[in-house]
């Protein structure tokens, strides 16, 4: 193995700048002549915008302009677009209301932007907001799924009857009904997938500027996918052609999905930049982020599982209501449907599945993809249901899973809900995780905890997810309005160093290291000789960005394709130099060798020849060594695995302590094991956060109660245990790397493991389920309610 190539845990290239304070995040940038924008936001969840009077605000010191919805309406620019169209059961397209860049006529959630104030300083812009006169006639509010679906509920959008955006289904209803008709037993569960706030540590920020000479716009923004922002904002909102619009995403401080989407602020700033003729910067406060960054999850589901007398799964029926918030964010419709319901087979051979999803508008912040996006929801539902099924059948939780696993011999496995899994070995990850977590020794640990007065529980989750998003034709057939390929440009310089331009974006994932390792391995050059460039539409040919754990599986595959072209051209050059036929030239370990001889040319010699073509096959071959490839995946990739959580509950307080967490994941080819471990640990911490701590709670008037980091419980260091991570990989069969993806597995596999452990710990308290987050108050109430019964027992 090459010491710095595939499989080596080398230290990260990006660390030195981050550890020295030399990272360059958007808010760190100051453009010459920069001024500041502040958004005035609605403090009521639903209302008619009666009057916005900017006269006093405009007279405040330093104020340059105040823009309102009237200006936006007069400018006739487009609304913020949605990138995915889902159709209802009856074939009708989803209801897709206009999402104006600044509110026009009505406000629809707390945080909806009413005006943008531009001033010389940030403080002046905020001061002027205090002088803005805004009159809103409050309307009744549909603050959550239940309220929005109640008869006579206030309408968020007049065109969406009953607040329904779409009513979608997948699977074979008749086959499922037949399965239930012959079922020996049925397990049933109603559950809530709690609403979350992504809370990347860097708040969103953007700087828009316009070059009055060239007519070029530049937007620096905190995005995971600069080309997607260019497409959505340029083509759909502002009508700026690609060659006049540059999007730069420099260092970005975490995303987790929340920085995929095109946000109204980006469009407002860019639209205003030619009017102000100076760069305009906006940086979100954290409080502002809580009410403007797209939230995650927020599903209510009813699930039923039919089983035969041996505990084999016969059929699964799921009905989900999914909160879309007040407007459709970029990927929102795909999350509960094609990214969630299509995974309801999980790792099991359930032959018949039918799922219905009703997407609902509410007077809340838009809801969209958050780490895992749909797969955590289906995994949580399924793995909770399987534990309940084990109880219904009186079966062991391990046995019921093993009985229903898709066997290795069944791959490629066609599920009844559209997806075809290419590879996996669910017993291997399961057995390895049972062993690593010392599952067999749990009973001893439980008794020891009981002797200390603690309730100890263990919980299993076995999961599969679909990522490596996505085959464009498949995604297109399912409603995606863009292709989902990836692009790489490999530029070999005359002296043999390499710059890799990728359309993916790194905001914590360590691509500058991992991709350099991949390229160093394939081209046989030292990793120091390879630099990776991302996040600038002016430098990178094209790309679709980073989400859905796609960067290595799709972006890395594009690099392999581009390097194949480099190597082929290199072989032609080397054949000319060594006066032999190209078929006789092999490339290995950075050397072009004439097969069966010791004649060779180094990669560097060939690169130099390509740029100094004195002795060169110039008739047949262009000079230079610079190749681009687009890679469109043939299928999704299917990481899977097993997570096991162990908890201890203090019965006096209801407090849950995470005392152990073990994950064994199948993520395909691993480039840098150190980075992989970090990705899994970070995802698991977010999953533990969802299971035990985090909850975006709205009151009935649509006010976000957990609207700051003082109220919304982010996981802290002492909430998270040491996390033992292992991999048991099978390779993806359809991409050149065999890579599956690792970014989301932690957040997908972990929440049901934690809740299964909590329920297990409460085994003596007559509880089969409790909704996330499993707070001390909820657990204490369960324990308290059962105390008399326990005494009577």
């Amino acid at each position: 193995m090459k010491v710095d190539g595939i499989g080596a845990s080398i230290k990260r290239k990006e660390d030195l700048r981050f550890l020295s304070g030399n990272g360059k995040y958007v808010d760190d940038l100051t453009r010459p002549g920069q001024v500041y924008a502040h958004f005035y936001r609605s403090d009521v969840a639903h209302g008619v915008l009666k009057r916005v009077d900017a006269k006093a605000a405009l007279a405040m010191p330093g104020v340059l302009a105040v823009f309102t919805g009237e200006d936006i309406a007069a400018a006739k620019i487009g609304g913020v677009p949605c990138g995915w169209q889902v159709h209802s059961k009856d074939g009708s397209p989803m209801v897709e209301p206009l999402h104006p860049v600044l509110a026009i006529g009505k406000v629809r959630y707390v945080g909806d932007a009413i005006a943008m104030i531009v001033a010389e300083t940030r403080a002046q812009a905020k001061d002027a907001a205090e002088a803005l006169v805004v009159e809103i006639d409050a309307l009744p509010v549909a603050a959550d799924l239940t309220a929005a679906l109640a008869p006579g509920a206030p309408l968020v959008h007049d065109e969406a009857a009953g607040n329904v955006c779409f009513d979608w289904h997948i699977g074979d209803k008749a086959a499922v009904d037949a399965a239930f008709a012959k079922a020996h037993k049925v397990a049933k569960l109603e559950l809530v997938n709690n609403r979350l706030v992504p809370n990347a540590m860097e708040p969103r920020a953007a700087i828009a500027e316009y070059d009055t000479s060239s007519g070029d716009y530049t937007l620096h923004t905190t995005t995971q996918n600069p080309h997607v922002i260019r497409l959505l904002m340029g083509a759909f909102v502002l009508g700026i052609p690609e060659h006049k619009l540059r999007i730069v995403a420099p260092d970005v401080g975490g995303g987790f999905g929340s920085k995929i989407f095109h946000y109204a602020e980006e469009a407002a700033l860019t639209w205003a930049s030619p009017k102000i003729k100076r760069p305009i910067k906006w940086t979100s406060d954290r409080s502002e982020a809580f009410v403007t960054d797209a939230h995650g999850r927020d599903h209510i589901s009813v699930a039923e599982l039919a089983m035969d007398a041996e505990g084999r799964f016969l059929g699964l029926r799921v009905n989900t209501k999914a909160n879309m918030g007040a407007y459709l964010s970029t990927f929102a419709p795909s999350v509960p449907t094609y990214l969630s319901a299509t995974l309801l087979a999980g790792v099991y051979t359930t032959p018949a599945i039918y799922a219905e999803v009703k997407a609902v508008f509410t007077n809340t912040v838009p809801v969209d993809a958050y780490r895992g996006a749909g797969r955590p929801e289906s995994t949580y539902l399924l793995e909770r249901l399987v534990d309940i099924a084990a109880g219904v059948m009186g079966m062991d939780k391990i046995a019921i899973r093993k009985k229903n696993f898709i066997p290795n011999s069944a791959f490629p496995y066609q599920t009844p809900v559209a997806l075809q899994y290419d590879s996996g070995d669910y017993n291997a990850t399961f057995d390895a995780c049972l062993k690593a977590s010392d599952y067999a020794g749990f009973e001893t640990r439980r008794r020891a905890a009981a002797a200390r007065g603690k309730l100890r529980g263990i919980g299993i989750s076995t999961y599969v997810e679909a990522c490596g998003i996505a085959p464009s034709a498949v995604a297109g057939a399912l409603g995606a309005r863009a292709g989902l390929y990836e692009v790489a440009n490999i530029r070999v310089h005359p002296t043999g160093s390499v710059t890799v331009f990728t359309g993916t974006h790194s905001h914590g994932q360590g691509h500058e290291t991992t991709f350099a390792q991949l390229v160093a391995e394939q081209l046989g050059v030292p990793v120091e000789q390879v630099d990776v460039v991302h996040g600038d539409t002016a430098k990178i040919p094209f790309g679709m960005g980073t989400y859905g754990s796609r960067s290595l599986a799709v972006g890395g595959s594009a690099m392999v394709k581009a390097m194949d072209k480099i190597i082929l051209k290199g072989r032609k050059i080397a054949a000319h130099l060594m006066e032999t036929d190209i078929d006789d030239v092999e490339f290995k370990d950075g050397k072009f060798t004439v097969a069966g001889t010791d004649k060779s040319k180094t990669f560097g010699e060939v690169a130099l020849t390509a740029y100094v073509p004195h002795n060169y096959p110039i008739e047949e071959l262009e000079p230079g060594l610079d190749e681009t490839a687009f890679y469109d995946p043939k299928n999704f990739t299917y990481p899977g695995g097993c997570h096991i959580a162990e908890v201890e509950i203090d019965p006096d307080t209801g407090t849950v302590s995470m005392v152990g967490f073990t994950a064994v994941d199948d993520i395909g080819r691993v480039i840098n094991p150190m980075i992989v471990e970090g990705q899994v640990q970070g995802g698991i911490a977010q999953g533990i956060g969802q299971a035990l701590l985090e909850h975006a709670i709205y009151d009935e008037t649509g006010q976000l109660l957990s609207g700051s980091m003082m109220d919304y419980t982010m996981p802290r260091a002492d909430d998270i245990p040491n996390i033992l991570v292992g991999t048991e990989s099978t390779l993806c069969t359809h991409n050149p790397l065999g890579a599956k993806g690792v970014g989301e597995v932690g957040a997908i596999g972990s929440p049901p493991a934690v809740i299964n452990a909590v329920v297990d710990a409460l085994r003596d308290y007559h509880v089969t389920h409790l909704d996330m987050p499993a707070t001390p108050a909820k657990i204490w109430a369960i324990i308290e309610a059962n105390r008399p019964k326990m005494a009577a027992d």
């Binding site: 230290k11 990260r12 990006e14 660390d15 030195l16 700048r17 981050f18 550890l19 020295s20 304070g21 030399n22 990272g23 360059k24 995040y25 808010d27 760190d28 100051t30 403080a123 809370n199 990347a200 540590m201 860097e202 708040p203 260092d251 970005v252 401080g253 975490g254 987790f256 406060d285 954290r286 409080s287 905001h507 914590g508 994932q509 360590g510 150190m674 980075i675 471990e677 970090g678 990705q679 640990q681 970070g682 995802g683 698991i684 911490a685 977010q686 700051s708 980091m709 003082m710 982010m714 996981p715 802290r716 260091a717 002492d718 998270i720 040491n722 996390i723 932690g746």
Partner: protein
């Protein structure tokens, strides 16, 4: 506008700031030291932690004028003149204790303070408790805890007491 003398990483600056300017704003916007970050507005996240005199402070929770004259160290001032990293910076890199890098400056500054305040040793539980004031959304803290334990012996030039492990 009040005038204030800010002594940061050994260099003194006389600057005019509005009275309401927070120390973190003065560092970032007046002095251009953007390594110190802002991650929240309720003093919860710790991304803005700096050293002020012999105290570790969240620079969003004091005014620039309150820092008059006191020596301030930010993340930019940690490495030696020859560029070699502070042991805490080095151990963060060694143990992959950072991903997006946004919480990292505050996390490193807090970690140094934590280790310095505990010459007697630090257990894993004490490290986790000591990080109460710093949020990280990427790493799950696992590797941050490891990095701090690894930096302790380097900073105190002796082995971490076994009892503290």
């Amino acid at each position: 506008m009040p005038q204030v003398k800010l002594t940061v990483n050994g260099k003194s600056h006389i600057v005019d700031v509005e009275a309401r300017t927070l120390l973190v704003e003065a560092l970032r916007e007046t002095l251009g030291l953007t390594g110190t970050h802002i991650g929240c507005d309720t003093s919860q996240c710790g991304a803005c932690v700096v050293r002020l005199g012999d105290m570790s402070v969240k620079s969003c929770s004091i005014l620039a004028v309150q820092a008059q004259g006191a020596p301030i160290t930010t993340i930019e001032g940690l490495a030696a003149a020859d560029g070699s990293l502070h042991p805490m910076q080095a151990m963060f890199r060694e143990h992959h204790a950072l991903q997006c890098g946004y919480c990292t400056p505050g996390m490193v500054m807090s970690a140094i303070d934590l280790v310095e305040r505990h010459p007697e040793g630090l257990s894993e539980a004490e490290i986790r408790h000591g990080l109460e004031g710093n949020l990280c959304r990427c790493t799950g803290y696992h590797n941050i805890v490891k990095a701090i334990a690894a930096a302790w012996p380097l900073m105190h030039e002796k082995a971490l007491p076994a009892a503290a492990e």
